[in-house]
Symmetry: C2
Subunit: 628 residues, 2 copies
């Protein structure tokens, strides 16, 4: 077995580390290499968006990230030229209240610290990043049907090499991907315009009042972006050249002193000086997207290998994380026998669309950023948020908040995300604003509830960890009205051919008394939310045994929520369910809603779920009577 | 200098570690010994109350505690006997909503993990706990006026010893204190009744539904207390003997099996069994309080050396923490020249009163706990919280919530806590319900505000770390109405003899550009809170330079608060200030309110503050004109 792995991962940046972390936790055998001798020492990507914070918390990694005391961006300030130099024309929340986010801010922390948090977790699961090693060749030759991919690896010094076989090969190599080149996958350039950027992290002294805010500053001397960082540092982004320049040269460069001098000009009438510079880099970047993310569903790519764009919106690392999680659970479900291989095709279709949206956004945003905006008169008084006349830049920014926070990611209907065209058809499926406020392909709306067993006030959407399982949320409504429906659902789920029973643990003898999330099966985890005060919920007396077994995942919907102030059962209300009648939500292992089903007496609710999972799993689920 | 220390600390339990952590951070030279070869390996104290969580967060240690995933207790359940065994008669919030707490729960984590968090911090400040060493003698012989206390220490093996001189000696030795014995300080027994307790930590299997809650259970077979812990463990407390028993023997013991058998009887009709036992101990304990905490204000005691009581209310470690913090800042102020030595006398007066209250509470609570309560009929139906007829036990519990959460600690008026009898008299001092909702000797009411420089939404009461400085909060109201008052305050504070200027840093050449909390002086830190939306606050334009210098401590009072839903400036409203006119709050270094002063035009506001600090510092502050 020494040379056989489930997955070989090339590159230990954000996308590779996230994939490795997920799969290592779920028990896969991983070979993970990186061509750098050590993790990122300084600088590089740094922005973690609200949606990524949700994800990191779901993995139990958020606290370790926050221990480094990242800077937090709650607002973005816009500065434009005026007769005295620059003035603030307005500020806007980075993640405005119309977005229902647990963490309505972006954290800024240098990539190396983030990488180390992942590496520590991976090592706990007995995977070591092999450094500095590189990939020298690969082929899906199928000579071993179980491990069809042959991969050649070598130490960067060229003296040592090894070959391994793998079920999957993943390139998280970044923009210059050997794997992508070998596959002959082309980069499509959305926008032919490329830019050269200068980026500088350091500790400054300045009387510029918004130095601890994220700012986009346009002045007659040029444009700059200010981003606060950990350890009292500030990052400045300055555009050094653009392919629209007459003397465009993608290799144009600038010294740190040039950039500092330029920043001083832009920030006038304010002064700025540097105590120290932590990191400085100049790099050309274009907007590109790979035409394919995989050719054979054995060799995959993700992160910067698939999409490059300007650093402005802080999307790189976040998109990489979500690429990896999307692929991780699909590989896991195929390898666990939960899904046919065809589910792997949705990795490219789902993630490429997100990258396309990102490039569209980046395109509009970066163009506006690099354009010099006419000064005063176009925008209203500096001190007014609400009355500011919105220029194109501000408009684009506002419209993009949902996207930049990570909550704008919406996967289209497909086999996983139910929609009216889905192969599973049943009258009890609910659609957006047709019985539910939830939208398939979007994350579950956050809701605060009380866990019954210990009275802890908890975040429902975080209660199932990122364990690779589907998450079934039974919003049970008022049990005095739904007890028959709940009982019926339990008894149809109990049938041997149901989605619930089909993937039950085979080793019945293993003692799972202390297993909270997967006592029956690794295929799914189960939560029940009851419209009742906590002290009136009696799990064993009121719930069928099948639900009562998930005793640590029974919740009372009894916490008031400012967003639905009149609701007695706020979580039910936020999901758009009748507070008495409830409903059932299936959430994908990566936290996006898969389908929503009405809770009714009889076989219907379970039948709809069986149909949905029949499509996902490629198995005929439910007995004849139920599945008819 | 090798044998001279600022403080010698005996014992590395909670009280010693907290004292050591504070003083090590503030730069003192410490000798810290403990007679155990290593920190607590398992068991012992475990409850961290809401107020202690505030304190730990203020020290930057809360995240490290939470990383161990302690159990959280939000509710306490009461079980009483009935014809079938036991039944739940009600539950009650552990820290009910009438208490305005950031963390309305108790965390449970074994003492060793908590100790290690402190030890790691202490070691960062170059203090090593010397183990296993003990104290063999001490004398305040005054032979060296700066280091008057002579202390003899020895390795527990008796082969090595050393003598040192110290400014202060502190005993955190626990109930059996060599120092206390040597001083001849007697323990006063509030209640002559003593008990023998059995305590067992372990992982159990049970169908008892409240096993993850804190429960007090009375049955015909005896009484038990259930407390959830980290790592899926449960702690059980069982009373094994009482001095009221006919056959009372303080050395009576019981095996783990005896206790398990007893628990099985008590929990009927529910079953319980143990997967493993992590820790088991039997110990006798009485309620005692030391008559003195110090004789000479050089040799001090704190924690269990000064007060012992039953473990029921989870108060031991929390009281120890607050003993230590109370002493730490007073020593710091004396040694910094901020206070006359007389302030040290308030350690005993303040902390002994808290211990007396604790014993009064414990006495009532423990008596009720150990009493067998008559069964059904006395209490109402098990399922009803609101309608339960309150028996004496439940009444005591409810009345004690504020006390057990830690927020009931109220220091009486004295030199530090202003009151109508305080030597500083001025018409602008405000009292409870006389111009403010704040009470001196109680903690500052929590409030959420927006930090102006970076738009971060923050907890105002946490913004000044535990740095040993007084915390001055200027609630500036609506600056369009208060700008003269604010300007006047600044100019009187700027006078050389003011409380603000008197303790200014002497080394003016030190570069303090990046110093956020103590740019002018270590005597105080300063916050300004403005009744205005964040984007309309311009620090340099609107605030006098003296306040603007604390640029990272300027806040917009623009966050809505459910407790004062109609307020536009919720923090002002919670403090009981006129939202337009504001007020000034002086908070002690340990977070308790010292005095509250009206904000007015002219010299009055500064004058009142000068008078207050004149008493605290023993210096005549303010010039003749201002101080008249």
């Amino acid at each position: 077995m020494a040379d056989k792995y489930d997955v070989v991962i090339i590159g230990a940046g954000p996308v590779g580390l996230m994939l490795s972390t997920c799969l290592a936790r779920w028990g896969y055998r991983i070979k993970h290499i990186d061509n750098r001798p050590e993790p990122t020492p300084t600088g590089r990507a740094d922005g973690i968006q609200p949606r990524s914070l949700d994800l990191l918390r779901n993995m139990g990694l958020k606290r370790k990230i926050m221990a480094h005391e990242p800077a937090k961006v709650y607002e973005v300030a816009f500065w434009d030229p005026n007769s005295k130099g620059i003035h603030r024309t307005g500020t806007w929340a980075s993640c405005p209240k119309f977005i229902d986010a647990r963490y309505p801010f972006t954290t800024l922390l240098h990539q190396g610290l983030i990488e180390r948090v992942f590496i520590e977790d991976i090592e706990k699961h007995n995977v070591q990043i092999q450094r500095p090693w590189t990939i020298t060749g690969f082929k899906n030759d199928g000579k071993d049907p179980t491990y069809p991919v042959h991969v050649s690896l070598a130490h960067v010094d060229g003296h040592t090499s090894e070959t391994v076989r793998a079920k999957y090969l993943f390139s998280g190599e970044g923009a210059r991907s050997f794997v992508r080149d070998q596959l002959g996958v082309k980069i499509h350039h959305k926008d032919p315009i490329a830019h050269v950027w200068g980026v500088m992290d350091g500790v400054v002294r300045t009387d510029f009042p918004d130095i601890k805010m994220k700012c986009t500053i346009h002045s007659d001397a040029g444009s700059i972006m200010v981003i606060p960082r950990e350890d009292n540092m500030v990052r400045l982004y300055i555009q050094i050249a653009s392919s629209t320049d007459k003397d465009w040269d993608p290799r144009k460069t600038a010294t740190a002193e040039d950039v500092q001098q330029h920043a001083k000009e832009i920030l006038k009438p304010y002064s700025i000086s540097w105590d120290r510079v932590e990191w400085y880099s100049v790099y050309p970047i274009g907007q590109g997207i790979a035409e394919r993310y995989t050719l054979d569903e054995r060799v995959f790519m993700g992160g910067d290998a698939c999409h490059t764009h300007s650093p402005k919106a802080g999307q790189g690392m976040n998109t990489a994380f979500l690429d990896a999680v999307n692929l991780a659970w699909k590989i896991h479900h195929v390898e666990s026998g939960f899904s046919p291989r065809s589910i792997l095709s949705t990795y490219e279709s789902e993630r490429k669309k997100v990258a396309q949206n990102l490039l569209d956004f980046d395109n509009r945003y970066a163009k506006l950023f690099s354009a010099r905006i006419p000064s005063a008169g176009e925008v209203a008084g500096a001190s007014s948020d609400t009355e500011v006349e919105e220029n194109e830049f501000v408009k684009t920014f506002k419209a993009s908040c949902e996207f930049t926070s990570g909550y704008g990611v919406a996967y289209n209907p497909n086999t996983i995300n139910w929609g009216p065209e889905h192969p599973a058809q049943h009258p009890l499926f609910l659609g957006f604003e047709k019985g539910t406020n939830l939208r398939t392909g979007r994350i579950l709306t956050p809701a605060t509830v009380t866990r019954v067993v210990d009275a802890n006030v908890v975040h429902l959407e975080q209660e199932i960890p990122l364990n690779g399982s589907y998450r079934i949320y039974l919003f049970a409504g008022d049990l005095s009205k739904t007890s028959s429906a709940v009982k019926d659902l339990a008894s149809y789920m109990g049938a041997p051919s149901s989605f619930f029973s089909t993937f039950a643990h085979q080793d019945k003898k293993t003692d799972r008394y202390h297993e909270f999330n997967n006592p029956h099966t690794d295929f799914l985890s189960f939560c029940t939310v009851v419209n009742s005060p906590r002290a009136k919920v009696f799990i064993r007396e009121q719930l069928p045994e099948i639900f009562a077994r998930y005793r640590d995942h029974v919740y009372a919907d009894d916490v008031w929520d400012q967003r639905v102030p009149d609701a007695t059962a706020a979580a039910h209300a936020k999901m758009g369910f009748d507070q008495d009648r409830g409903g059932v939500v299936v959430v994908r292992p990566d936290a996006y809603v898969g389908c929503v089903v009405r809770l009714e007496e009889g076989k219907g609710t379970c039948e709809a779920l069986n149909k949905y999972f029949s499509v996902l799993t490629g198995k005929k689920l439910g007995d004849e009577r139920a599945a008819l």
